[in-house]
Symmetry: C2
Subunit: 334 residues, 2 copies
Amino acid sequence: MADGANGAVGPVDALLAELSDDMAAVGDTIRTRMASEHAPRIPEVTAHQLEAGGKRLRPLLTLASARALGYDGDDHVKLAATVEFIHTATLLHDDVVDESEKRRGRPTANLLWDNSSSVLVGDYLFARSFQLMVECGSLRILDILSNAAAVIADGEVLQLSAAQSLRTDEAIYRKVIEGKTAALFAAATEVGAVVAGAEDSVVEAYRRYGDALGVAFQIVDDLLDYGGVGQTLGKNTGDDFRERKMTLPVILAVAEADDTERAFWSRVIETGNQRDGDLAHAMGLMAKHNTLSATRDAALAEAKAAKAALDGVPKAPLVTHLKALVEFVVARAH
Amino acid sequence: MADGANGAVGPVDALLAELSDDMAAVGDTIRTRMASEHAPRIPEVTAHQLEAGGKRLRPLLTLASARALGYDGDDHVKLAATVEFIHTATLLHDDVVDESEKRRGRPTANLLWDNSSSVLVGDYLFARSFQLMVECGSLRILDILSNAAAVIADGEVLQLSAAQSLRTDEAIYRKVIEGKTAALFAAATEVGAVVAGAEDSVVEAYRRYGDALGVAFQIVDDLLDYGGVGQTLGKNTGDDFRERKMTLPVILAVAEADDTERAFWSRVIETGNQRDGDLAHAMGLMAKHNTLSATRDAALAEAKAAKAALDGVPKAPLVTHLKALVEFVVARAH
C-alpha cells in the first residue's frame, strides 16, 4: 500500500511507528523461521517474496488488535508472523496460478527461480506457519486460522472457475474476495483479540472489522485496476481485463449490458479474443453504466461497516488508528 | 502397493480386512471433508487423485497403531483422514513439480485439469487436514503433524536442488526421502499411538517403526525404478533416470565410478544429454558395482530396524500384521 500522495504520515505509518518494536520482533521471527537446515533456496525465495510484499499490513492488524486490548505477552508476535507466512505462501502459489511475471514491479519468484520452487516454498511456509501457531498452544486460535486457511483455498479454487465466465455475479465475486483477502484479514484481527483474552463480543467485533476492511481493500484494488473512479491510467491498468477476471466493475457492466455490449463482453472475457482498443471500449462501457462509482460505493459501504464494528470495543489510541486505516484504504479509490 | 504376485493375501489386505469398518469411516470422512460449498472442482480433482492413490497405506498405519494399543474412540479416523489428505496434497503438488503426466497408469490431475487446479486443490486439502486435526483437540498431535509437514516441505525443496547434481550423496538422499516419505509414515504411526494414550516409550517405538518403514519403502521404490535387484524391466523402468534423479542406486554407482564412468554420469545426470542406450549402460554400471544389491541391503537394514522397534510394544495381533507389512515392503525388492 502506497503512502498518501501528499506526503502526510498515513495511518499505516502511524501504526508502524506505534508498533515498531513488535514489528521488529515479527521480522526476527520471520527471518528465524524461514531458515531451512537443508534447503538454502527456501530463505532465498521467501526473502524475495517478503521484500515484494509491501508494508506487512496483515501482521500489523494482528499486533494492533492485541495491543489495543492491552495484551502484554509475546504470542501476538508469533501469530503476526503466522499470518504473514500464510499470506506469503498464497502469493507464491497465486503467481504460479496466474503465471505472473511481476509483483509490485519486481520479477516474481516463479520467474526468477521456477514454478516448482514457488509451489514447494509456499508449502514450506504454510507448514512453518502451522508450527508457529501450534506453539501458541491455543486450540481456539488454531481453529480460527485453520478455518481461514480452508476459506482461502476454497476461494482460490472458486476464482479459477469464476474467471472468464459472464455468469459470475456479485454473490460469487464476494465469495471469491472473501477467500482471496477478507478471510485472512478477519483471522488476523480475530486472533489478535483472542490472544489478548478479550470477551466474545469484542472478539467478534474485531473479526467483523478485519473482514469488512479486507472486503473494502479488495474491492478498491479491483477498482484501481481500472484506474479508479477517475479512470487514471497507470502502467498496470487493465491487468485484470487482460487476464479476463470477473471483478465488480465488469460484473456490474455485464449486468447492465444490452445485446451488443454483451457480445463484446462475451468476446473479450469468455473467448479471450482481445484486440487493440478493447480496454478503452470496456472502460467506456463502465463509465456509461457508472459501474466504477458503484464499485466505489460498495467499498465505502464495507468501510462504514468496518468502522462501525469497532464502535463498541474498549477505547484505545490504536483503535483510532485502525479506524483511520479504513479511511485510508478507501481513499485510494477516488 | 501391489499384492504379492502369487495371489496370497498380503499383510496390507490382512490389515484392510482387520480394519475394514475403520477404513470405511475414513472413506466417509474423506468424502465429506473434500466437499466444497463453492468449488465443485475440488471434489472432482480430489476424487481423481485419491482413486489413483492405491491402498491408503498411511491411514492404515494410523488406524492399526491406535487399535493395536486398544484405542476405542473415534479420533483415529479423523487422524487417518488427515494423514491421507496431507499425502494427497503432496502428490498433487509433486505432479506439478515433476511435470508428471501419469501416476499409477492414470493421467495426473495437472494433465486432466491444469497446474492451477493441482496447486490450489492441494492447498485446500492441506487446509482441510489442518482443520481435521484441530478438531481432535490435542496440541501434542498438532505438534507432531505440523513438524511432519515442515519436514516434508523441507525435503521436497531439498530434492529440487539435489536432483541433477553428482554431489548429492547418501546423506543428502536420506534427508530427501525422510521428507518425501518417512516423515509422514512416522507421524502416521506416532499419532496413532498418542491418540491411544500410550506411554512415551511406546509412542517413540511406533514413531521409529513408521520412520524406518517409510525409509525402507522409499528405498525399495527407488530400487524398483531400475527393475529391482533382478533388473526386471517394466514399462516405468528408468523414470528416475530420465528425470535425472539422484537415487541410491545411482549415488552408489557414482561413488565407485572411474573417470570414464564419471563422465558418463555427468552427461546423463548433470547436463541431461541422454541418448538411446544410456539407460542400459547405466544399469550395466550399477550391476558392475553391485549398487542394486547394496541398495536392497540398505532397505533390509531399515526393515530390520522397523521390526525391532516394535519388539517392546504391547503384543497384539495387529502388531504381528505391522511386522509382516515390513517384510512385504522389502520383498518387492527381490
